[in-house]
Amino acid sequence: MTAVAATPDTVLFEPRTAERRRAVALAALAAVGLAAAFALLLERFAVLEDPTHVPSCTLNPILSCTSVMTSEQASVFGFPNPLIGIVGFTVVLTAAAGMLSGARFGEWYWLALQAGVTFGVVFVHWLAFQSLYRIGALCPYCLVVWAVMIPLFLSVTLRNLQRWQLSLTRPARAALAVAVDYRSTILTAWYLTIALLALQRFWFYWSTLLP
């Protein structure tokens, strides 16, 4: 019974159920991210057509797509950021659907996904910083993108590190095993950190909502 128990050194190939579960998670996260990026782009078009249009995600001075969408940071690369999300999340969604239908992707494909989600997670944190401390508003659809980007990054990264762990040092492998076991704690702590920063930053506003 204990003979088959996985130790950090032996987990090279996961059971298919774990792979499936990951594919389902990737597909769901990418679909949500895609929907948010799409909605954001539609609102962007609506504002371009009619500058007085109030987007569905502009709820109050702090939760406001308008302030965020019209900022310089909203098109860092010269075109609206949601376009990146629409392309990127579609790639992940398609790949995850492929996995679910039985496709196996080469390691170079996973490497490319890793590059994509790494860019995504860094970009999202840069945007979070800008949103909190430079623009001074939060855009709900953007929050959705942040929220899916983090687990997407964790999931792909942990999968890849497990797959490539033979090239890791022993302590790194042990740390990886802990990270894999405690990924829900990592994700929660990550979310909480951002949530608390947002609460702290806009406390002057949230406190006015208290009864």
Binding site: S71, D181, Y182, T185
Partner: protein
Amino acid sequence: MKTDAAAANPPRPLSPRVRSALIAGALVVVAITGLLIYALATGPRGPAPRQEAGALPATRADSYVLDDAGPGAPTLVEFMDFECEACGAFYPVVEQIREQYAGQINYVIRYFPIESHANAMNAALAVEAAAQQGQVEDMYHRMFQTQAEWGEQQTSQADLFRSFAEDLGLDLAAYDDAVADPATQERVQQDLDDGQALGVQGTPTFFLDGQRLELSSVSDLTDALDRALDESGGA
């Protein structure tokens, strides 16, 4: 016997997944508890301001009444942030309404600079400094007409606002003194505090005869004004 059973059936350790979920849950609970304690310690906003005798509804005696049709007329109060885009978008609408209802309603402006707008307070101070020289309305127009030039910027636009004062022919020495005077900021803060106590959550927020208006279109505003005028005797 008892020890045998214990040995045969050792308590199963929690699987790492379950343990991780428990720790995550504990983190959330700790965070929420901490937050609640903090919220209770810092306290909610103060009590609603008392309506000053002689002042129009939802205003103070020193509030700026841009259109004065007398105490019997409906009173429209706007809490505004000069940097807020929605206020800028409402500005032409409000101007049209002021023209349309000229002589029938009171129109009062009150400051509600939002902290996330870097120049909202600077703009409010400039308007208040101009107000002390009797030019509140000119500065109010100037702010909204130029909002696109200076809004949404992180750097201080105080120099630009000073140039507005210069254009308006204000006494610049008095203007500078007023902007630097903590009392000017307190005057703005007073409106902000009153607004929060009245339940203002964003800008622009309109009050008609002390009642907060929930607007989804311009006609909501004119409809409310028409109703108020009907009630006050169809001026």
